[in-house]
Assembly symmetry: C2
Homo-oligomer: 207 residues x 2
């Protein structure tokens, strides 16, 4: 069973890497589709689910006694519901077939499958140029603002992951392989990565 | 030109990985041999050179005014000399042929060669069991003492590296690939790693 999970720094090209790797291996890649499935299942707006996804639910805890647990906290309840639904869908997808799953702490959620866990990173200059090439032409953000945004999203991801494990997000020993995309075209990394994964799984079989 | 550098956490099996990888690729691996060459060149004891190697020279700076720079500081002078000699030898070896070089900030020292930079890591439990299997039978250290020793050696390596670069030791974005050896036999990782490196260099050629 080939379950490959991609954790990634924002701007590192992790999503593209996941997609291209899945194509090379001939298996499906699940990324945004998970959001769509959750939205459908919970009958919620996609953008709303996307906004809640990969966020630490503790951000929605009451912060003062006056806004205590005794009052209904819909934001918290709904975020917990979305999280539960997302986990269920991730487990269902992994149970159906070999696949690549991008983000959403899938490496931890699917630990019983012993997934091959990839972390994708890049240096800041490289992330910056990747963000530029993706941005709409009317988006006007300074380098500083872009990098602040990248770090903020990564902080959310790290915090989300910390709900499931004490292994720190982005720390190499929490993944099987960390791939650095700095100054690389993502597609140029795929042959090497595919070769690694094929050899990894054929080694597993001989055990 | 295939120059592969191995940075490694103490107890992660990085040295064994370097040796086995070099064997698989049919190229030499330089590790302790560098110490021997430095000792020979500087006419110093091998154990003494080994003790000074991969240590931050700032550890040998005078710490009080009374022990100021005006007095000759032989420990500092000799450590600088060993460091310079080590760099010269690393450059010479890399200039001679494709090779794997373990440790000694070779990834930074040889940056003009654009080496393929590997970082080898493992979780603490795995490092502990690797240290046990290596230890002499009369060595009696508690788990806590072993892990303290591992962290101390890694701190020295990080500090040594920080003399050459502002890229933090062990941070994934400073290497091309981070390999996690947790619960793995090193030799089981070699086919995958060899496949990755061969594909990496054949991709480089097509550029």
């Amino acid at each position: 069973m080939k379950i490959i999970t991609i954790s990634r720094e924002f701007g590192s090209g992790g999503r593209e890497l996941g997609k291209r790797l899945a194509d090379a291996l001939g298996i499906p890649c699940y990324d945004h589709q998970i959001i769509d499935l959750v939205a459908e299942k919970e009958n919620l707006d996609k953008a709303y689910v996307a906004n809640r996804s990969e966020k630490d639910i503790r951000a929605f805890y009451p912060t003062t006694i006056a806004r205590g647990f005794s009052r209904p906290n819909y934001a918290l309840q709904q975020t917990i519901q979305i999280m539960a639904s997302e986990q269920e869908i991730i487990r269902k997808l992994a149970g159906e077939s070999d696949c690549v799953i991008v983000g959403r702490a899938a490496d931890i959620i699917l630990s019983e499958y012993k997934p091959f866990r990839i972390f994708v990173c890049a240096d800041e200059l490289s992330k910056l140029s990747r963000c530029y090439s993706r941005a709409e032409t009317d988006e006007k953000m300074t380098d500083k603002e872009i990098l602040r945004k990248c770090r903020e999203i990564d902080r959310h991801r790290a915090s989300y992951r910390s709900m499931f494990t004490d292994k720190k997000w982005g720390l190499a020993s929490g993944y099987d392989l960390c791939v650095n995309t700095t100054e690389k075209e993502i597609k140029s990394l795929i042959p090497a990565l595919t070769a690694y994964i094929n050899a990894w799984y054929s080694e597993e079989k001989t055990k």
